[in-house]
Amino acid sequence: MGAVFAAVAALLLIVAPASQATSPAPTPSPSATTFQNSISGFLRGDDRAPIVGVTITATSGDFTGTAKSSANGAWTIGVPTQGTYEVKLDESTLPQGIKLADGQENPRKVTFSQTSNLSVIFAFGKGIVIQQQDFGQNLINRLVAGLSFGLLLALAAVGLSLIFGTTGLTNFAHGEMVTLGAVLVFAFNAMNLPFWLSIILALLGGGLFGYVQDAGLWKPLRRRGTGLVPMMIVSIGLALAVRYVIQFFFGGATQQLPFAQSAEIQLGPISISPNNLWSLVISAVVIALLGIVLLKTRLGKATRAVADNPALAAASGIDVDSVIRIVWVTGGMLASLGGILWAYYRPGVTFDMGSQILLLIFAGVTLGGLGTVWGALIGSIIVGIFVELTTVFGLAADLKYVGALFIMIIVLLIRPQGILGRRERVG
């Protein structure tokens, strides 16, 4: 419990300066100017102490307004119209020892957006560095982050796609398999097991869940000859049950895994957090290994044969049931790994973290073509990069998943079988 509080406190400490720099200061009361519109702000130093007597000017065309920061650091300049102004802080009037933070633009251009007051924040001291990345820099960073996200999606998507390929089941409980990995790492870690052991146990737990699912539920259903649509609805029931079982034990709060907070490091032109970099490398290696197994080994050949035509595979001596069992175990382990990486990417562990990305996993699988492994990989990477890039091109952050889902619908419209799929998928 103490560790949780320490983690939360550490998190708050890290977040606090950033939020000071970005969230608008409380709006000062309008000054006694005759103008309806105003530009205003608070001047406060690193230590939150108000900075008094600093001159700030706003100019637009031939209008110039001036203000001095008051005893509580507040300043307000009345302006005649809502438009674009150049706001300049006179650095020569700053008190001794106080400087604008690195990267603070001064003077800067500001524009009104539909409100009569416009807040301008100047940050001071070296504790606060506003990131003034240029567009190209931002694009590259988001591209790499998107690749990392896409590859972790691919871990789950490849498992889902293999299961679909061999059994025909669209598994809505796959999101819960993703959640399980992260929750297990958190649980084992809370039992004071070493970090590496927690991860191994969580992966084994994910594989075990896949095994139990197939042995206890899906194989008997296949034996009964249950149709694909009923199986899909059963998987929804399973998803609901497992999601609330996890919530039952885990609770509704967000928890952090160890080492979830890390400063970004600079790799040439790219700045990336070490966690994202690890995630990218781990998922790329795992997927490459999986690819080698599928292409080069007897087991891989058998899996592809079952995916292609189960009856023919059975007739040529392949034990279809054991191949499917291995696919379920592999799928469970891959989903667990994806879940652990997703917990670091977000960052945080919650009971519904898997169902949050379930549709993105589906989008990746559908984009690439249901049932094809390479399609799932390519589709997931496209989805991951697309989700990250849409924010660079001006889509609000809370809409970034919409873009990916929308693209999926558009692709189904023009190429229903997906990028690598075959025509037969179309009904």
């Binding site: 929804i236 609901l240 609330y244 589906f362 609000a396 809370d398 189904l412 009904g427």
Partner: protein, 323 residues
């Protein structure tokens, strides 16, 4: 434990407006899945379109009640058209994924901060039900089971709507149009070979079920006087499927009975679990976990129903939408 209170609140659920809303939305699903074999996993999206269509047209554009109703119905029909055009030619599982994605898109759009002025983002919208209650013909007073005139009015309206829609669906399904629809469910190619335009029939079924969903969305929000995006997640659709499977897929009264059973059982389990916790009989559970335990039961019930009794309480096994 106060069994009287537990049973009376469970009985209250039997005719609550929420049950009526679930019954209506499930009836829409019966038209989609039970009668036409369309696997719509986005019924929550249709409900959200109905609820928000009504709330936004009332609050932002200030239209009268019946114009708002019309706007909600028309926008859900347009939503169905938009969904149907790319997906109705595809296999069932594609339709499932696209509809669930579209429902989530609707939820993300009404949640985003970009549109707070129109949708109220995560807080949603409130105070749009004035016009509706202004039409209340019942004078203030106490009605059945101690309801006030507002509660009584919304229940009467909700269940009249349910009855009308059930009659409409019943008439439609015994008409030649309904027989073609069932034919499509059984064998699409056979119907196509008879010269029927399968695509058009499916589209009409999708629109009718979607409009029922939109009406359900309105019935759901009016008694609350508020609409919030969190209510329209994918879980809602899955609960509706549970209701549908409880009652019976290809039936008119199945959805109504399914919704009633669903809410009565949820209310009973909550009452009994809370009673056991308060009296100290159960100590390994707190009230929050008791709430989650009920939803675990919903999930398990959905699985067991689908496996062991897919035709539900009223259904006929020969009428199942799938072999």
């Amino acid at each position: 434990m106060d069994f009287g209170f537990i049973f009376s609140s469970a009985a209250g659920e039997l005719f609550s407006p929420t049950t009526a809303a679930y019954a209506l939305a499930t009836l829409g699903l019966a038209v989609h899945f039970g009668y036409s074999g369309l696997l719509n996993f986005g019924q929550a999206g249709f409900m959200a379109v109905g609820a928000y269509g009504f709330a936004i047209s009332t609050l932002t554009f200030g239209v009268p009640f019946f114009v708002g109703l019309l706007i909600a119905v028309v926008s859900s029909a347009i939503f169905a058209l938009l969904l149907g055009i790319p997906t109705l030619r595809l296999r069932a599982d594609y339709l499932a994924i696209v509809t669930i994605a579209a429902a989530e898109i609707v939820r993300y759009i009404v949640t985003t901060n970009q549109l707070t002025a129109i949708t109220g983002s995560a807080n949603g919208l409130a105070a749009f039900e004035g016009d509706f209650y202004a039409m209340n013909p019942f004078p203030p007073g106490t009605y059945l089971m101690g309801m006030n005139n507002r509660d009584f009015f919304i229940r009467v309206v909700a269940w009249v709507v349910v009855a009308l829609c059930c009659t409409l669906v019943w008439l439609l399904m015994r008409s030649p149009w309904g027989r073609v629809l069932k034919g499509i469910r059984e064998d699409e190619n056979a119907v196509r070979s008879l010269g029927k335009n399968v695509y058009a029939y499916k589209m009409q079924a999708l629109i009718i079920g979607g409009v029922l969903g939109a009406l359900a969305g309105m019935v759901f929000t009016l008694p609350r006087g508020a609409v919030q995006p969190a209510n329209y997640g994918t879980e809602l659709t899955f609960f509706l499927y549970t209701c549908l499977l409880l009652g019976g897929l290809g039936t008119v009264l199945g959805p109504v009975i399914g919704a009633m059973i669903f809410w009565v059982v949820l209310s009973l389990t909550q009452g009994i679990l809370y009673g056991l916790i308060e009296s100290g009989t159960i100590t390994w559970l707190n009230t929050v976990q008791a709430g989650q335990l009920r939803y675990i039961l919903v999930g398990v019930a959905l699985m067991l129903l689908m496996i062991f009794r897919p035709q539900g309480v009223l259904g006929n096994k020969k009428e199942l939408a799938f072999a």
